[in-house]
C-alpha cells in the first residue's frame, strides 16, 4: 500500500516533465534541430560532390568520422557496463541514474554507426556487407557485434523500463495525449507486479545484465582489433583491445556525470541525485581514469623506449604537430579527474562535472590522436606536392556532421526524457519493504 502511495507521489513529482515542455525546453529543442539541419545540408554536400569535400585523402583515409564513431560507441558502454555491473552488485544508490545510463547507451549506439556510413564511399552498396560478408574481416566482426549489441542493449533497457511503463499506464492522473497513454499500455505488456512476474523479470534482467557486460567488452575489443590487426605502425599494438574498453567506459562515466548534472538542474532532481551519487560515479571515473592513464602510459613508454624507426617517427609527429592536444588528452584528461575526485575537499558537484567534461573532450582527442597521426606516418614516406594530401585537416563538412551527431544525441535524450521519467520511479522506495517484493535486498 505504502508502495503505491510512494510511487504515485514520485510520479506526480515527475509528471510535469512528461506533460509539458517549458519555454527554454522548446528553445533548446529548436536549437538542436537547427544544428541537425546544418548537418543534413553538409551530408547533401558530401554526397553530391564526393568525398573530396572532406579532409580525407589517400594517406589519411579515416578522419573525424571514424573518431566520432569510436567515441560514440565508447560512451555507450556507460549504460552497458555501469548499469549492468551495478545491477549484478545490487548497488542501491544506482537507481536514480540507471535510466540516464541506459539512455546514453541506446542513443549513442544508434548514432555511432551513422558515422561509419558517412565514411563509406558507396552507400548504395551497403547491403553487400550482409550479402557478401567475409568473416575473416574485422569489419564484418564489427557489423555482427554492433547489431548484437544494439539488440542486447535495447532489450536490457526495455526490461528495466517495464515496471515504470506499468506505473505510467496505471497513473490515471497523468495529462498526456491519448497516443502516449496507449503506448504505455502496449509496451507495459500487462505487467502488474505480481510475484511471478517479478521473478520472471528478475531472471531476464539478471541474464541480460551479464550479457550486456560481456557484449560490451567483446564489441569494443572488436572495434579495437580493426586497428590493431593492421600492420600500420602506431596501431599494431597488442593492448589495443583492453585499452579501448577501458577508455570507452571511462568516457561513458564522463558523459553520465555531465548528463546527471544537466538533468538534475533542469528537472530539479536535487532530492534524488545527490552529491553522493556524483561522488560514487566520480570514484568509478577515478578508477577507470587511473587504468586509462596506465594503459596510455604503457603504450607510449613501450614505443618511445624501443625507439623503432616508425614508432619514433610517430612520437615525433605527435609531439611536434599535436603537442597541446597530446598533453590535454593524456595528461590533463587523466590527472584532473584523479585530483578532483581524489581529494575530499575538491569533491563538489560542479567540480566533478567539470572534470567529467574535461574527460569527455580528452577522450575524443585521444581517439583522434590514435587514428590520424598514424596514418600521417606510414612506412613509405608521403611524397606529394598537395598540402591536403600530406597532413589531415577536417573540413566544415566533417565538423558540421560532428555537431549534428552531438545535437542528435542531445535531442534524442531530451525527447526520451519527455516520454519516460528520467529517474526510475517504480523502484524508489522511501522505506523498505514487503516480503513479497524480492527486489529489495
Amino acid at each position: 500500500m505504502s508502495d503505491t502511495v510512494t510511487s504515485d507521489k514520485l510520479l506526480r513529482e515527475f509528471a510535469p516533465q512528461i506533460e509539458r515542455t517549458g519555454k527554454y525546453g522548446k528553445l533548446w529543442i529548436g536549437f538542436l534541430i537547427v544544428v541537425i539541419c546544418y548537418g543534413w545540408f553538409a551530408l547533401y554536400w558530401q554526397v553530391s560532390r564526393g568525398h573530396i569535400v572532406t579532409g580525407m585523402r589517400d594517406n589519411v583515409v579515416w578522419g573525424v568520422y571514424i573518431v566520432n564513431f569510436i567515441f560514440f560507441m565508447g560512451i555507450s558502454y556507460a549504460g552497458a557496463l555501469i548499469s549492468g555491473t551495478l545491477h549484478l552488485f545490487h548497488a542501491e544508490w544506482r537507481k536514480p541514474i540507471i535510466r540516464m545510463a541506459e539512455f546514453i547507451t541506446i542513443i549513442s549506439l544508434l548514432i555511432g554507426p551513422c558515422f561509419i556510413m558517412l565514411c563509406v564511399g558507396r552507400l548504395d552498396r551497403l547491403p553487400n556487407l550482409i550479402l557478401f560478408g567475409r568473416i575473416q574481416s574485422p569489419i564484418t566482426w564489427d557489423v555482427i557485434a554492433i547489431s548484437t549489441d544494439i539488440i542486447g542493449c535495447i532489450l536490457f533497457l526495455y526490461l528495466a523500463l517495464l515496471r515504470d511503463l506499468g506505473k505510467m499506464r496505471d497513473f490515471t492522473e497523468l495529462k498526456v495525449p491519448q497516443w502516449q497513454k496507449k503506448m504505455y499500455k502496449i509496451l507495459a505488456l500487462g505487467y502488474t507486479g505480481t510475484p511471478e512476474q517479478q521473478l520472471m523479470l528478475k531472471r531476464a534482467t539478471d541474464v541480460m545484465a551479464a550479457m550486456v557486460i560481456a557484449i560490451a567488452i567483446i564489441v569494443y575489443s572488436v572495434l579495437a582489433w580493426i586497428f590493431s590487426v593492421t600492420l600500420q605502425p602506431g596501431w599494431h599494438s597488442t593492448i589495443f583491445g583492453p585499452y579501448f574498453v577501458i577508455a570507452a567506459v571511462y568516457s561513458g562515466t564522463g558523459v553520465l556525470i555531465v548528463a546527471m548534472y544537466f538533468f538534475r538542474k533542469v528537472y530539479h532532481l536535487e532530492e534524488h541525485i545527490t552529491l553522493q551519487h556524483f561522488v560514487n560515479v566520480g570514484v568509478i571515473m577515478l578508477v577507470l581514469g587511473a587504468f586509462f592513464g596506465y594503459f596510455t602510459f604503457s603504450e607510449y613508454l613501450t614505443k618511445w623506449y624501443g625507439s623503432e624507426k616508425n614508432d619514433e617517427q610517430l612520437i615525433q609527429v605527435l609531439l611536434k604537430n599535436y603537442f597541446y592536444l597530446f598533453i590535454l588528452s593524456n595528461y590533463v584528461g587523466v590527472l584532473v579527474p584523479l585530483i578532483v575526485v581524489g581529494f575530499k575537499k575538491l569533491r563538489t558537484i560542479r567540480n566533478i562535472t567539470i572534470a567529467a567534461g574535461i574527460v569527455v573532450v580528452a577522450l575524443w582527442l585521444n581517439r583522434y590522436l590514435i587514428v590520424v597521426p598514424t596514418l600521417e606516418t606510414p612506412y613509405l614516406p608521403i611524397q606529394d606536392a598537395r598540402p591536403a594530401w600530406q597532413l589531415y585537416s577536417a573540413t566544415w563538412v566533417e565538423w558540421a556532421l560532428t555537431a549534428a551527431g552531438c545535437a542528435m544525441f542531445c535531442l534524442l535524450f531530451t525527447i526520451g526524457s519527455k516520454l519516460i521519467p528520467i529517474v526510475q520511479v517504480s523502484e524508489l522506495k522511501e522505506e523498505p519493504v514487503e516480503s513479497g517484493d524480492i527486489y529489495l535486498k
Partner: protein, 322 residues
C-alpha cells in the same frame, strides 16, 4: 567527288568484311563478320585502328584478340602462370614514363597514380635512390584479408584484383596495405566517364567512391604484351615474367629470374612484414649517373614532392651557401 565517296564507303564496308579476317591469326574463335551493330562475338570494347580511307576506326576488340574479361571471368587467374616483377634500382632515373603510360592506359586522372616513384634514402649516410613502386600482389595480402565484402581478391596467377562494382569504399584495405599502394576515387573525375564495359582486369573505367590500384595488366599479359610500365621504361628498369617459368623480360633483355636474383642480389621491400610480395628489387649498385639527374626536367608540381627529402634539402643548402 561522289564516286570518291562511294569508293570510300565501299572500302570501309570491305574493310569490315575482309580487313578483319586478314588478321586471321589473332581472331578469337567465334568472331563473325561485323555487318551491323549487334554482330555476334562483339565485346563492346573498341580499339583504334587507322584505315586507308583515313578514319581512325574503332573495331570491336573481340575481333582482334582475346576479349577483356568481365567480372565473373576475371576471378579466374590466367592458367599456369604466376606473375613476378623485378625492378632494377640501379638503372632508374625517374624518367616517369612508367607513371605516365600507366595513367594513360588506365584512363586515370592526373593526380591518381598506380605506379609511384619515390626518392628513398634508407638512412642518413646511405645514398638516395629512385624507387618505383607498383602494387606488390603479395602472397599474404593484408588488403584481401580485411576486405569485408570480398571486393578485392587474389587469383591463382598471383594477381590481386579489385572488383569496383562490389567495393563499398570503406577504405579498410587502404589502411591494411603497409606499402601505401591503393588509391581512392575521391570525386567523379571526367576520366571515369568512358563508355566501355567494366573489367577488373583492366581497372577501367574507374568508379567514384571505390578503391583501385596497379593490376599487373593481366589484359595485356593475355595478349602476350608487357604491362604499360615495363614497356614504357626507357632504361629497361622493369622486368616482368612468370616465376614458375623462371624467366623475366623488360622487352629488350630476357633473363632467368633465379639467375638475376642470385647475381644481382635481389630482395623484397619490407620483407619482415610477412606480406611475401611478388616484386623483387635489384639494389642500386654501380649506377652510371648521379641520382640528382632524376630531378631534371620535372614539372614544378612533381618537383615539389621531393622537397622534404634529405637529398633535396642538401642541394638547397648547397645552393644557399653559394
Amino acid at each position: 567527288m561522289e564516286n570518291k565517296k562511294k569508293e570510300d564507303n565501299n572500302s570501309r564496308r570491305n574493310f569490315l568484311k575482309l580487313g578483319i579476317l586478314a588478321g586471321a591469326g589473332t581472331v578469337a574463335a567465334g568472331a563473325m563478320i561485323a555487318t551491323g551493330k549487334n554482330a555476334s562475338g562483339e565485346s563492346g570494347e573498341k580499339i583504334k585502328v587507322l584505315t586507308t580511307s583515313g578514319e581512325v576506326m574503332e573495331v570491336d576488340k573481340n575481333f582482334l584478340t582475346l576479349a577483356p574479361k568481365n567480372r565473373e571471368e576475371s576471378h579466374e587467374g590466367i592458367p599456369g602462370r604466376k606473375f613476378v616483377m623485378v625492378i632494377d634500382l640501379a638503372k632508374c632515373k625517374n624518367a616517369r614514363k612508367c607513371v605516365e603510360e600507366c595513367q594513360k592506359g588506365h584512363n586515370l586522372p592526373k593526380g591518381e597514380e598506380f605506379m609511384k616513384v619515390y626518392l628513398m634514402q634508407d638512412s642518413e649516410k646511405s645514398a638516395p635512390y629512385w624507387f618505383p613502386k607498383p602494387c606488390y600482389h603479395c602472397d599474404n595480402p593484408q588488403c584481401v584479408s580485411v576486405c569485408p565484402v570480398g571486393a578485392t581478391y587474389k587469383r591463382s596467377d598471383g594477381i590481386v584484383l579489385i572488383d569496383n562494382e562490389r567495393c563499398i569504399g570503406c577504405k579498410f584495405c587502404m589502411t591494411g596495405c603497409p606499402y601505401s599502394t591503393r588509391v581512392f576515387a575521391w570525386k567523379p573525375d571526367k576520366e571515369y566517364d568512358i563508355d566501355r564495359p567494366y573489367s577488373p582486369e583492366k581497372s577501367v573505367p574507374g568508379v567514384e567512391g571505390t578503391v583501385s590500384k596497379c593490376d599487373f595488366c593481366p589484359d595485356l599479359a593475355r595478349e602476350g604484351k608487357l604491362p604499360y610500365c615495363a614497356a614504357a621504361c626507357p632504361m629497361g628498369v622493369i622486368y616482368f615474367g612468370d616465376i614458375d617459368e623462371d624467366v623475366v623480360t623488360n622487352g629488350t633483355e630476357t633473363f632467368k629470374f633465379s639467375e638475376l636474383i642470385r647475381d644481382r642480389s635481389g630482395y623484397r621491400y619490407l620483407e619482415n612484414l610477412g606480406t611475401r610480395p611478388n616484386v623483387y628489387y635489384l639494389p642500386p649498385v654501380d649506377r652510371q649517373f648521379p641520382v640528382e639527374r632524376g630531378l631534371d626536367g620535372l614539372d614544378e608540381e612533381t618537383l615539389k614532392r621531393y622537397d622534404n627529402t634529405p637529398l633535396v634539402q642538401k642541394l638547397k643548402n648547397k645552393e644557399g651557401k653559394q
